[in-house]
């Protein structure tokens, strides 16, 4: 199972070669898709050993089903679907983990529809913080934990949409939900992730500006 220099060969051509018994084609497909498959599997399972198993099983399924793969969908989409389903199945065996309800990490509103909550968090715009701070190990760890804390189906949508860069339509196709349901899950998940980051970064971002605003509104004494 060597690795061919086959950049110009399409995935479907490689599947046909595999079907004809050319196992080097499988090597090329693994080279092309295994890192992405692992990233999705790890993102959903949160566990390296589970992710490894999921990826192995996905390529085994590809090998075993090469005869019947019709190429109607892109191979990458098919692989995403196989990996996502298998990863979610792994998660079913982990149901003893207590999931934090998403609602507590969503924004709050007054009855009149305006935002409510800690002014420092409402006004804390940390988006302009230096890149060196936002890309620090501390923030990476925070993001990882916040993603891991999302309920499984919400995390799956974030992994496929914001980590893998797929479209809402592609994600809907992979997870077997409507586009509207995917958009709703994605938005709620992003809001929860934003809340986690803001809880950490907001109070120290633009405090002086928020204070000035609070003073204007009479919420802060001069």
């Amino acid at each position: 199972m060597g690795v061919l220099l086959a950049d110009e060969t399409t995935d479907f051509d490689l599947v046909i070669q595999l079907r004809e018994g050319d196992t080097t084609a499988l090597g090329v497909l693994m080279e092309r898709h295994s890192a992405r498959a692992y990233r999705v599997a790890f993102g959903i399972t949160k566990n390296r050993a589970d992710a490894e198993e999921v990826v192995q099983d996905a390529f085994l399924a590809l090998y075993q089903n090469a005869d019947t793969f019709e190429g109607r969908a892109a191979l990458s989409t098919w692989l995403y679907r196989v990996v996502t389903n298998a990863a979610l199945m792994k998660r079913r065996g982990r149901r003893h983990e207590v999931e934090v309800p998403l609602e507590i990490r969503l924004p709050n509103f007054h009855r009149n529809g305006h935002r409510s909550g800690d002014l420092r968090l409402l006004m804390g715009d940390w988006s302009q913080d230096p890149e060196s701070a936002l890309l620090s190990q501390e923030i990476k760890t925070l993001i990882q934990r916040a993603i891991e804390a999302l309920p499984d189906l919400y995390r799956t949508v974030v992994v496929l949409r914001d980590m893998e860069g797929l479209s809402n339509e592609e994600v809907a196709d992979i997870v077997g939900e409507s586009v509207a349901a995917v958009k709703s899950r994605l938005h709620r998940a992003r809001m929860a992730l934003r809340e986690s980051l803001t809880t950490h970064l907001g109070p120290r971002a633009r405090i002086s500006w928020a204070r000035a605003w609070g003073q204007r509104l009479g919420l802060w004494k001069r």
């Binding site: 199972m1 196992t23 499988l26 090597g27 693994m30 295994s34 890192a35 692992y38 990233r39 790890f42 993102g43 390296r48 490894e52 990826v55 192995q56 390529f59 085994l60 090998y63 924004p107 509103f109 009149n112 529809g113 305006h114 935002r115 409402l122 006004m123 804390g124 715009d125 940390w126 988006s127 302009q128 936002l134 890309l135 923030i139 990476k140 993001i143 990882q144 993603i147 974030v158 992994v159 914001d162 980590m163 893998e164 860069g165 958009k183 994605l186 938005h187 992003r190 809001m191 992730l193 934003r194 980051l197 803001t198 907001g202 605003w213």
Partner: protein, 84 residues
């Protein structure tokens, strides 16, 4: 259209606004609210940045180098089972 509230902007329209998939008239309403509401503007900026940081984080998730060998060995074993 009645003036938008923060709840409308954040819950109903923000995701589509970020994706630029809102109709022009709704986009104008949302932008009108954002200009007048510092809290929603901060929300938009940090929502976008969150999405970008998640994408950046994804680029750091790499398949362990030894996993390639593990996968290769696994598939060779499986293919050997199928060989006559």
């Amino acid at each position: 259209m009645e003036a938008l509230k923060c709840r409308d902007v954040i819950i109903e329209f923000l995701a589509d606004y970020v994706d630029r998939t809102l109709p022009p008239d709704v986009t104008r309403e949302v932008e009108g609210h954002l200009r007048a509401c510092a809290a929603c503007m901060a929300y938009l900026n940090t929502y976008r940045k969150t999405r970008d940081l998640v994408g950046h984080y994804a680029a750091q998730v790499a398949m362990p180098e030894e996993m390639k060998d593990i996968l290769r060995r696994f598939m060779l074993k499986e293919m050997a089972k199928k060989s006559p």
